[in-house]
């Protein structure tokens, strides 16, 4: 228990080291959001780098990473100009509304906390893939390559999946000194809280606390998120990185601050290292920085897009090099993704479209989460003309449609595949949807605001 708390403290300290330097706004909740999302991601990336050099995760390694980021953050923070204090983008919200939304979000935190801290890892993919890898990484350094990566009898655990999420849990194993501890999922409670805090802070600056509280309460109690966030799988963590990168990209487009682009780079690199789906989302991020900015052909933006893409590629390169010789044993989607195969599988499109539409409308999986998107758009139609909103709509549609080609060429029974994967794939797009719901949230005209 004590070592679990110390590890969570280390993850937060690393995150605060980054957010103290790169988050310019004077907002505790935003700093916490960035720290809670990026802390586990950056710590895991550092531990992977050390592991590739031959040092398996240990208390010393985690302590070293923490001290370096804490000292670096403190040093650079002192040198920084005073932080910005931006007013909220909307009217103050009535206290009862904030209280109600907080109470709703608190149930989500309670449920995810139960799964993450009290219950054993029982979700099939969580123990068969992610937490098995966490044990491997806790026991062996990545150099020399552990026998696990060549053991085809374990190919069901997807030997070539990237290692960020398992390394977050491996750090907990290293810290507690046990492989059978129940705390391996505790860091994912942090990323869940971080996602909620960061989305809240972002919407609050754009539309005020009422819209922010509503969108975050909705996001944090969505059944699919509540189910997956504390289960020990990678999807909710991927969603947290995805949400973080989107917020930073929108801010980069609005303010042009390099710090936001650096944060976006970190979030996007973590995305790529989390799951293979993260690579697709990272590519969408790069395209957004390149094409969806106010002046895409200006030299500054071209440089920014090139630097962003290059930095993400360089940060992901070690895994490309490491995994190039690993056995290819599972569905090799990249091999099937060519025009001939896509054309041959066009008849699958209606089935995919029906499956996707059915999933978006499933109230058991989502409540009315996805219904809120068209509803809020209809209630505030003029908002659709605002840059952040149509940018988010484009990104959201890209994120949802990105999975259509892999479904078309999937070498498996499509029905069962759709049934098993769609909820988790749409989970990756929930931060974009929650941001949209918050930004489209209707507001009262000025004279009425003070009366409510």
């Amino acid at each position: 228990m004590m070592w679990c708390a110390i590890y969570l403290g280390c993850l937060l300290t690393v995150g605060y080291g980054v957010s103290a330097v790169l988050v310019a706004r004077k907002s505790h909740i935003e700093r916490f959001g960035v720290a809670a999302c990026l802390g586990p991601g950056i710590t895991a990336l550092c531990l992977i780098a050390l592991s590739m050099c031959g040092w398996a995760p240990s208390r010393l390694a985690i302590g070293l990473v923490t001290v370096i980021f804490a000292a670096g953050g403190l040093f650079l923070w002192k040198k920084q100009p005073p932080t910005l204090t931006q007013p909220d983008g909307g009217p103050p919200a009535p206290l009862w509304w904030i209280g109600l939304c907080l109470a709703i979000a608190a149930y989500g935190i309670f449920a995810v906390g139960l799964d993450a801290l009290l219950y054993p890892t029982i979700e099939w993919d969580a123990f068969a893939i992610w937490q098995l890898k966490a044990k491997v990484l806790a026991v062996h350094a990545l150099h020399p390559r552990p026998a696990y990566f060549d053991n085809v009898s374990l190919s069901y655990s997807h030997l070539r999946y990237p290692l960020l999420v398992p390394m977050i849990s491996a750090g907990m194993h290293a810290m507690t000194g046990r492989l059978d501890d129940p705390w391996q999922k505790a860091p994912f409670l942090l990323t869940y809280l971080g996602l909620g805090a960061y989305v809240f802070a972002a919407i609050k600056k754009w539309r005020g606390p009422a819209a922010a509280a509503a969108a975050v309460a909705l996001l944090m109690t969505t059944p699919v998120i509540v189910f997956h966030a504390g289960s020990g799988q990678a999807d909710a963590t991927l969603a947290a990185f995805c949400g973080g990168s989107l917020i930073c990209i929108l801010r980069w487009q609005r303010d042009g601050r390099w710090q936001d682009l650096i944060l976006a780079t970190m979030f996007t690199a973590c995305l790529a290292w989390t799951k293979q789906e993260g690579l697709v989302l990272a590519a969408i991020d790069v395209a957004a920085v390149a094409a969806l900015t106010p002046h895409p052909l200006r030299r500054r933006n071209l440089w920014a897009a090139a630097a962003f893409a290059l930095a993400v590629a360089v940060l992901y390169l070690p895994w490309i090099l490491y995994s190039r010789n690993l056995p290819r044993t599972d569905e090799n989607y990249t091999q099937h993704l060519n025009l001939t195969e896509l054309a041959a599988h066009l008849p699958r499109l209606p089935q995919i479209a029906t499956g996707m539409a059915g999933e978006l409308m499933s109230w058991v999986d989502w409540g009315f989460f996805w219904w809120m998107l068209p509803l809020t758009a209809l209630l505030s139609p003029r908002r659709l003309l605002e840059r952040p909103i149509w940018t988010l709509w484009i990104l959201l549609i890209c994120q949802l449609l990105a999975y259509v080609p892999p479904f078309m060429v999937a070498p498996r029974d499509l029905n069962s595949l759709l049934l098993m994967t769609l909820d988790r794939l749409f989970l990756h797009a929930t931060p974009a949807a929650a941001l949209l719901i918050g930004l489209q949230w209707p507001q009262l005209p000025h004279p009425l605001r003070s009366r409510i």
Binding site: F127, A128, L132, V152, S157, A217, L444
Partner: protein
């Protein structure tokens, strides 16, 4: 202006009602699944029982799993679940269901059963591959599952347990 203000009021109320309804549905479903039905409890209980059986069978050694009988009649992919769970639970101890060079992909339970059912290694093979203990699951035609634990070395002991 007045019309605009009343429309804004309606819009805010509609959005708030939709949001609260969604949250209410989501929370009610979670409370129902978690605390009212015994779905969660059964899941945890099943998991705990499997873990106990695996620990008792392994006792700190590598484990060989065998699935025989009529598993194909079961709707659940039990052999896969037990194998994946055993590998996770007992890591870094080896867990095998067949030749170590045999590729095992996810969602391929039928194949797993075929391999495990047809593969009958002798004691020397089990010792050579670091799996001196064996856990055999048998599924009868009526769907009843029993399992047997055996130690190949140092002492061969066997007992039959009703789950």
């Amino acid at each position: 202006m007045k019309q605009q203000a009343s429309w804004a009021k309606v819009a805010v109320c509609l959005a708030a009602i939709a949001m609260l309804s969604s949250a209410a549905v989501a929370i009610s479903l979670d409370v129902y699944n978690r605390f009212v039905t015994d779905q969660f409890k059964q899941l945890h209980l099943g998991c705990t029982q499997t873990d106990e059986a695996l620990h008792r069978a392994s006792q700190g050694h590598g484990l060989f799993l065998r699935f025989t009988g009529n598993f194909r009649s079961l709707p659940e992919n039990l052999p896969c679940g037990v194998y994946f769970r055993a590998v996770y639970l007992l890591y870094p101890l080896p867990v095998l269901v067949g030749e170590p060079s045999q590729l095992i992909n996810p969602h391929d339970g039928a194949e797993l059963i075929r391999q495990a059912g047809n593969f009958d290694p002798d004691a020397a093979w089990l010792l050579r591959h670091g799996v001196p203990r064996e856990l055999s699951y048998f599924c009868s035609d009526s769907g009843e599952i029993t399992f047997t634990m055996q130690a190949v070395a140092p002492v061969r002991a066997s007992h039959r347990v009703q789950p």
